[in-house]
């Protein structure tokens, strides 16, 4: 075998390696699920949040949409701020996030829209069962945050411009606390997603604000538990928008709109309401509530 000519062999070896990789890749460029493996699939790209992906909601509803329309939905899970940026750059067709003020700015700036309310879930304040701040059972999130700040017990913040991070910042303001002035080493910004924040809180037995869906599907709870829930200020509204096809001509207007129309339709809303973990409903469909 080594008696063959030099150049021919080198080229052949490299080419076959390349061909192997290429063939394998071509096979995988198609969607993986066998039922959906047709070449030239219609698909849209949705920039959404870690909560919708990590909670398993999309795994539940997307196959239903796919079965009805034949459109595959490729979901990229990011923080809300990042997901909106993805939409601004035109790297997604639809944005599905939860930070109403930021969404309205996105629409006002002409990046997409109109915004349609879809559902809400709620935030819960998670903390160690030992509860050094003494807030367990309270329904007043503002008072709870004041207690954490006063006792300077560890608090983990997402710090990633996500919807949850923005909601957390709004809650501190609502509690009358000026974080910039009063924050100390007890306030720990990690700049990562919800799961990472929960892992960190679990590791340091700290407090953390989480959406209920991610908490329910989270496994590594350690000594953590829900300490504060039920305050109306903890409700968390999701909205959906088509990225502006005028700015980004490649945006799949019809298929993206089809997804939006389906998710706010009675059928889509029912699919959302049906999704449960351990018998608990995670998301509450409210597309009909135009004020949400």
């Amino acid at each position: 075998m080594t008696t063959l000519p030099t150049r021919r062999h080198l080229i052949a070896a490299t080419a076959s390696l390349l061909a192997f990789g290429g063939v394998a890749l071509a096979q995988d460029a198609r969607p993986a699920a066998p039922a959906t493996a047709a070449a030239g699939t219609r698909f849209i790209t949705v920039a959404s949040t870690t909560s919708t992906v990590d909670s398993g909601l999309f795994n539940h509803i997307l196959p239903l949409f796919r079965a009805k329309t034949g459109i595959e939905v490729r979901v990229i899970s990011q923080g809300t701020g990042q997901a909106l940026d993805t939409g601004r750059r035109g790297d997604a067709d639809v944005v599905f996030v939860h930070a109403r003020a930021a969404e309205e700015r996105f629409v006002a700036e002409g990046h997409g829209g109109p915004r349609r309310p879809v559902m809400y879930n709620d935030f819960v304040l998670i903390g160690p069962k030992a509860d050094p701040a003494g807030i367990k059972g309270s329904r007043d999130i503002a008072a709870a945050l004041r207690a954490i700040q006063t006792k300077a017990t560890p608090f983990v913040s997402r710090g990633d411009r996500s919807g949850t991070h923005q909601a957390e910042l709004a809650l501190w303001t609502a509690a009358g606390i000026d974080l910039a002035a009063t924050r100390g080493s007890w306030y720990r910004e990690i700049g990562q997603g919800m799961g990472a924040a929960l892992n960190t809180a679990s590791g340091m037995n700290g407090y953390v604000l989480s959406d209920r869906a991610t908490w329910l599907s989270f496994r590594n709870r350690g000594d953590l538990d829900i300490l504060v829930e039920g305050d109306r200020r903890l409700f968390n509204q999701y909205g959906i928008m088509l990225v502006n096809p005028e700015r980004h001509p490649h945006v799949k207007r019809a298929d993206g709109q089809a997804f939006i129309d389906w998710i706010v339709s009675p059928e889509g809303q029912k699919a959302i309401a049906d999704y449960q973990i351990n018998g608990q409903q995670l998301f509450f469909a409210n597309a009909s509530d135009s004020g949400a």
């Binding site: 990789g21 995988d28 490729r74 790297d91 496994r219 980004h248």
Partner: protein
């Protein structure tokens, strides 16, 4: 306890042969092997060229290539992301959040390794072969095919080092692939995802499977190059 659960999870994954899991493994291998092949196709000749040519600033180029071996994957990912984003210069290709984008990012990570190691190996081998090749009229760049072919077993190590870097990497593929289920989710991004879901045993189980795969590929390549090297002397 968690470790034991992880091994159980790893075995369950392997024995269960779940189609979604197998698709992730296939995609990981396809992306990484393609990236390594592309990097080798470019890096082997470029490394040999760098070994044999003399030009002003050659030393600086070598230092730069060596330094790029330590390029943080996230930086490579960001670079490819900004190039391929719809708002970037290559946006019209529509490649962001596709396996092709992941191949680009990994190839960029692997390329400096292949170039640097090839440069060193070819330079050493050329020191030994120079007079004989010159006697045959193979001077300058005409020596390259002989040197690459005769260095093939040592060069396999360069390729393996590149494969190791690419297969273990998560930062770049996460940014440019988007970790889309069933489309751009690889072993490493799946590990990152399961970690963020707090399912640490499953995450570690996936990690064990990845290590086993890497181990297998290394063992096969090592054995093949040992047998080959013995034959070629």
């Amino acid at each position: 306890m968690d470790i034991a659960q992880s091994f159980a999870a790893a075995f369950a994954l392997i024995l269960g042969a779940d189609p979604a899991f197998l698709a992730i493994v296939r995609l990981s291998l396809a992306v990484t092997l393609t990236a390594v092949a592309v990097a080798a196709l470019i890096g082997l000749p470029v490394g040999a060229l760098l070994a044999l040519s003399r030009f002003p600033g050659r030393g600086a180029v070598i230092v730069l290539v060596n330094a790029l071996m330590g390029l943080p994957p996230v930086v490579a990912g960001l670079l490819v992301f900004l190039l391929l984003s719809r708002s970037g210069p290559l946006g019209p290709l529509g490649l962001l959040f596709t396996p092709t984008a992941m191949v680009c990012a990994q190839a960029i990570l692997v390329l400096p390794i292949v170039i640097a190691i090839t440069r060193q190996l070819v330079e050493d081998l050329h020191g030994e072969y120079r007079e004989h090749l010159a006697s045959l009229g193979l001077t300058g760049l005409r020596a390259i095919p002989t040197l690459l072919w005769d260095g093939r077993f040592a060069l396999a190590t360069a390729i393996l080092a590149g494969f190791g870097r690419a297969s273990a990497e998560v930062g770049a593929v996460l940014i440019v692939g988007g970790n889309i289920a069933g489309y751009t989710r690889t072993m490493t991004t799946a590990i990152a995802l399961e970690t963020s879901k707090g399912d640490l045993p499953l995450a570690l189980g996936l990690g064990i499977v990845l290590i086993l795969l890497t181990l297998g590929i290394n063992a096969v390549t090592y054995a093949a190059s040992r047998v080959g090297a013995r034959f070629a002397g």
